[in-house]
C-alpha cells in the first residue's frame, strides 16, 4: 500500500435533475433504513434526537429540523440527517450503540436516493398532474404525513413538510425521470 499516493477525493457527483418551476434539489442528506420491532422506534431517541413514529405514515422531526424519522412500514423507518460535514460516521455509530441489544437492521442508504422539493401554492396540483395518484388535500394528506407511493412509473417517498411543500425522496436512477415528469407537468398547470 502506498500511503503517499492516497489522495482523498470526497467530491460527490450529484444526480442530474431537470429543474423546473416549483421543483428544486435539496442538499445531500445522510439516510438510513431502520428495520425492527416497536422497541427500536423508541430506542433511537437517545442517539438520534428524535424517536421513530409509531403512527402509520407520520414523521417526527427534531427541534432544529436537522433530523427526521419517517414511518414507511410497521417495522420500517427512514432516518434522515443533515450532512453537516462533521465526522461522517457519527450518527450511525451512536445509533448502532443504542440498537445493539435489539433485533434490528440499520442500513446506510445515503447515496441510494436523492431529495427533491416541490413547493409553491400549486405544489399538490403539480404532483397530481405529474403522475401521483394520491389525494393531497390537506385533510387527506396533512403536514407531517409521509408515505411511499408512485409517481408515474417510479416509486417515490412523499413527505409533506409544509402546507405547500413536499419533500420527495427518489432512488437516484429514477430522479431524472421524476424531475422530467414534474417539469412536463408544469405545462398549462392551472389552465
Amino acid at each position: 500500500m502506498a500511503d503517499g499516493s492516497l489522495q482523498p477525493i470526497l467530491a460527490r457527483t450529484p444526480v442530474r435533475i431537470e429543474a423546473s418551476r416549483l421543483l428544486r434539489t435539496l442538499r445531500p442528506l445522510r439516510r438510513w433504513t431502520l428495520r425492527g420491532g416497536p422497541a427500536v422506534a423508541d430506542a433511537i431517541q437517545a442517539a438520534f434526537g428524535v424517536a421513530a413514529p409509531r403512527t402509520a405514515c407520520r414523521s417526527a422531526v427534531n427541534e432544529d429540523g436537522s433530523r427526521a424519522a419517517l414511518w414507511l412500514g410497521p417495522d420500517e423507518w427512514l432516518l434522515l440527517a443533515e450532512d453537516d460535514g462533521a465526522q461522517p460516521g457519527d450518527p450511525e455509530a451512536a445509533l448502532r450503540q443504542v440498537l445493539a441489544a435489539l433485533p434490528h437492521s440499520l442500513v446506510d442508504v445515503s447515496h441510494r436516493q436523492v431529495a427533491l422539493e416541490v413547493s409553491g401554492s400549486d405544489s399538490a396540483l403539480l404532483l397530481n398532474s405529474g403522475g401521483c395518484p394520491l389525494d393531497l388535500d390537506p385533510e387527506a394528506f396533512p403536514v407531517g404525513m409521509c408515505t411511499r407511493t408512485v409517481l408515474a412509473k417510479a416509486e417515490i417517498i412523499l413527505w409533506r413538510t409544509q402546507p405547500g411543500t413536499f419533500h420527495v425522496e427518489v432512488w437516484r436512477s429514477f430522479a431524472a425521470y421524476v424531475s422530467a415528469w414534474l417539469a412536463e407537468a408544469t405545462r398549462g398547470l392551472t389552465e
Binding site: A56, C57, L72, G73, P74, E76, P133, L134, T147, R148, T149, V150, E155
Partner: protein, 95 residues
C-alpha cells in the same frame, strides 16, 4: 384502478400494490414429505372462485406489507382486508 384498503395505510390506488394470488395457501412444512400430486397442487392449483375470493396483496409501493383481502370477483368490490396471519373473516361479519 381499484381502491384498496391497506390494513396499515388505508385506502390507496391499485398501482401501489402487487397482487399476490390466492390467500391462505401455506407452503408445506416438509416439502420432501409431499407426493407428486400434493406438491403439484401447492405449486399450481389455485381456486378460481366466481364470488368471494380470499387473495393476497402486497402494498409494494407503500408500507411493503403483504396482507389479505376478500373480494367479490363478480363485482371487484372488496368485502374486507386484513393483516397477514389473521384468520379469514366471515363475509357477513366483514360487512
Amino acid at each position: 384502478m381499484l381502491l384498496i384498503n391497506c390494513p396499515w395505510c388505508g385506502e390507496r390506488p391499485e398501482p401501489e400494490f402487487v397482487h399476490g394470488g390466492q390467500a391462505h395457501v401455506a407452503r408445506p412444512t416438509d416439502p420432501s414429505a409431499t407426493d407428486a400430486q400434493q406438491w403439484a397442487e401447492f405449486l399450481y392449483l389455485r381456486d378460481n372462485t366466481r364470488g368471494v375470493y380470499a387473495e393476497r396483496w402486497r402494498h409494494s409501493h407503500g408500507c411493503g406489507r403483504f396482507f389479505n383481502a376478500l373480494r367479490d370477483t363478480t363485482t371487484d368490490h372488496f368485502i374486507a382486508t386484513y393483516k397477514a396471519g389473521e384468520p379469514r373473516p366471515a363475509p357477513e361479519a366483514a360487512r
